[in-house]
Symmetry: C2
Subunit: 106 residues, 2 copies
DNA sequence: ATTACATATGAATAATAATTCATATAAAGC
DNA sequence: GCTTTATATGAATTATTATTCATATGTAAT
């Protein structure tokens, strides 16, 4: 593993580079939810969602607190909203059609 | 692949979740460089850097232009500076020691 | 048109990460 | 303490991504 930037950013971005975790984040934008709520909403297995939420927790991109038998997960909105704003802006600029982003050759 | 947020963000974050690419970006923060300059600076193989720069190009996180026999790569500073600012801020808040980020349990 | 230098590409291998499944732990009510 | 519900965990399998190596392409100078 390299030093500097890599060290700081690698885990952070790795955490976000997974469709299941991004889908979970998308759900958590709506409201805090339990594991099963997310799993049902996404049509995925409970244990898979649990594994992935753990990854997000370790990056501090979500937080959790227990509520009876359930555990409620909440989005770290401070970081995530700022982040999504940038990504959406980047996408709007470079991938206007949503699908493939053309690369301009010069 | 899931829709929505995932669709937009997945490639973007995947592109950034690789130590070699992050190290290359770190070099490009200093100044625009050719493939060999980056490869030498990082002590990596030319073809590996070339492959990774291609990935960054496809995400529009860098641009390139030819200069004689060389091809000079430049950072998309607009997106990257904003992005790094957020990540650094997040790291400062949650991983003050730089190493492992503690997860607070509640 | 041949050579040297710079970069790119494809395909194989190696490395890493994700998902699944079986099972363990935790909380709450009876 | 037993049962039910909710979540977590570990290990095996599967899938994805990176790297390497050999080679091809592109540019410029002689």
């Amino acid at each position: 593993m390299k030093k500097g930037l890599s060290q700081i950013c690698y885990k952070f971005f790795s955490c976000l580079s997974n469709p299941t975790r991004l889908a979970a984040i998308e759900k958590l934008i709506e409201k805090p939810m339990s594991v099963n709520e997310i799993a049902n909403a996404l049509g995925e297995e409970q244990s898979m969602i649990s594994h992935n939420l753990k990854t997000l927790l370790e990056c501090n991109l979500i937080t959790s607190n227990r509520l009876g038998k359930k555990r409620i997960y909440s989005l770290n909105t401070e970081t995530m909203e700022a982040l999504l704003k940038i990504v959406k802006n980047h996408a709007k600029k470079y991938c206007p059609k949503g699908g493939k982003c053309p690369v301009k050759e010069d």
